[in-house]
Symmetry: C2
Subunit: 383 residues, 2 copies
């Protein structure tokens, strides 16, 4: 707490909550106390890398309380807007209209403490954990595709008048988080930056990627696309660590990167992590067959979008155009997936699916994944 | 004034200005009175189709005062947001930062009366008038290209950080005008709508266009592009009636459709009107040679953008990508130009460049322009 920049940020938050503070906070707010009753236990969830996240259990029920502080929880020297949790609240409430089965219930945002209270997803586990342990269900992937399709329809000019769409785009702006995502995804891995890892293997991969002009051109194209297209309200950070599953049920958490953007972004990020999980399983449990989660996601997405299509707002969006848009979206999603795979391998932050492998396996998988990533990024197709 | 909807709209405006009211309005505001001195004459400009526009001359100088009323001036039954002139003020002030030579000076917006006061462009004439009378200058077209390039650079992720760009996109939202433009350009001409003209020739052309599936697919694509891409702060209605010229000097007026959108939109709309003017001149003054204004615009645009390129914010936007973006933007602009030509022929509002021709010439030019428009829209190239 000796960083003066951080000290001045702290002043902007009414109270930095710890477990005891959380218990007092909940008890003092009748709409939250009604949910949990008398607080019995407050747990600090380690999963929240960016925000502090607490599980609150009482004699009547439970909830999750998330607090945004003006820095990244696991990187306290990296300053970050506290308004990110407000964006998450807007995201949860917007998606609840058409995706109620796919988001936790919101118990409301508090703009003094920058906290968001929401339903605890009892019985769910992180999709990442399930996949790592070999619980690979096509139904979950189909459900994730359905979920993305509903947002693609209901928040875009498919399902919204031009006027309402333009208003929502403005209202859901998330400038600081846009900047952070663009820095991390499009710039840092491809430029000389002190935040890049100095691991010799990562350095070797980075140099290989940076020498490929066709890769850099695609990265620039994707950067422009991410920064300028405002199709639908995205989750914005849809990896397998922000999706929870229970059998064939799927729910998303951690919507602080929510923004209007290209629909392909959510699909592509998810695909990258599904592919990584698959490769990791192939090494650790060779010979085990599993459903193709990428195809299952796409089937869920297209089926749901086509089911909504007859209700679209503008008659001048034709059937022929829908097919062209789907094709373009698939291509773009594969390119984004390739980019995300690259980022997870050469960018800021370790790639858990790789680092949790034994060194030998890691080397073999990494070369394979690197080749796959570059191909997906350049060609817009997996094979 | 018997329409009750209009009556209720009137209540939202503090005063509907007439020339006498304008004289009083200016005299009562010291920052405007300082510009003109004692008001001598107030003229009502007929050019403003959407808003009331007055020219105010005094013993010391002159200014233009524009008032938005809650309907379209020439179509009083068509309700329209009064906030459009506020958007125009934001546009003028934003463009003034990098395009000062291309916009009139703003003397400020008044959000009580929904008025915008600005410099009168003495010595300028409407580009449409100049072209109609055969004053065809490549320098003006080059200047228009330069002007669009400056906005394309300074208001987009070329010249703005991701965070600043996202904030400006939100701040400059223009939802009601977006809706109106989309209705007029993408829907009404291509669907059965009472606002379409019943002129038998127009009806014939409309039916021909509507039977062409490839045209309808492109219209849908362009609608999606216009509605979802937020590249740069556009003028938004850049036809030759909203550009004023004096020799090689070019300035834009009428920015009430200003919004973030695809850069190709401004280029394409301008090209459509330059092409129409050229075709009209070819018929009325056959054999007269003239410079190619479309090429001159493009040269002005690309030269200026390349000149700014080394100052771009993100190193990860590569040279190779710039060339790809320029190529895509040109193709898209030609498609938008084709769409605009179609709209001017089959949509709401007469096409002056055609209706001012003699009936025989009109028929011949129209068939020719229709073919050109459909080709440009489908192929993304002129020939």
């Amino acid at each position: 707490m000796s960083d003066p920049k951080r000290e001045s940020h702290v002043a902007a938050v009414s109270e930095v909550l710890d477990p005891e503070g959380v218990a007092r906070y909940v008890a003092a707010r009748s709409h939250l106390a009604r949910v949990v009753g008398t607080v019995i236990e407050v747990e600090t969830f380690g999963e929240g890398k960016i925000n502090a996240v607490f599980g609150v259990r009482g004699d009547r029920g439970s909830l999750v309380l998330k607090q945004a502080l003006p820095w990244i929880r696991v990187l306290p020297n990296w300053a970050l807007t506290v308004h990110r949790v407000e964006r998450e609240a807007w995201f949860l409430e917007s998606w609840a209209d058409f995706n109620a089965a796919h988001v936790p219930k919101s118990y409301g945002y508090d703009d003094g403490a920058h906290t968001l209270a929401m339903e605890e997803l009892t019985g769910y586990e992180l999709w990442r954990t399930a996949l790592h342990e070999g619980r690979v269900s096509a139904a979950a992937a189909t459900g994730a595709g359905t979920m993305v399709a509903r947002s693609a329809f209901h928040t875009s000019p498919f399902g919204r008048d031009a006027e309402a769409h333009a208003r929502d785009v403005a209202r859901s702006a998330n400038p600081a988080m846009d900047q952070m995502m663009q820095d991390v995804v499009f710039d840092i891995p491809f430029t000389v930056d002190a935040r890049n890892s100095t691991d010799p293997q990562l350095t070797r991969w980075r140099e290989k990627v940076r020498a490929d002009e066709a890769v850099l051109t695609r990265v620039a194209e994707l950067r422009w696309c991410y920064g300028t297209r405002r199709e639908a309200l995205l989750h914005g950070d849809l990896h397998t660590g922000s999706v929870m599953v229970a059998g064939d049920q799927v729910r998303v958490i951690d919507g602080e990167f929510a923004r209007y953007g290209p629909v392909a972004w959510d699909l592509g990020e998810l695909w990258a992590h599904l592919v990584l999980a698959r490769r990791s399983l192939d090494v650790r449990r060779p010979g085990e067959s599993a459903p193709d989660l990428v195809s299952a996601t796409w089937a869920g997405f297209t089926d749901e979008l086509r089911a909504h299509w007859p209700e679209r707002r503008a008659a001048s969006l034709t059937d022929g155009w829908l097919e062209a848009w789907l094709e373009e979206t698939r291509t773009l999603a594969v390119r984004f997936a390739g980019l995300e795979l690259l980022r997870r391998m050469i960018g800021v932050g370790a790639c858990e699916q790789l680092t949790m492998l034994e060194p030998d396996a890691r080397e073999a998988v990494a070369d394979d994944v690197l080749a796959l990533a570059v191909h997906a990024l350049k060609e817009g197709q997996w094979t």
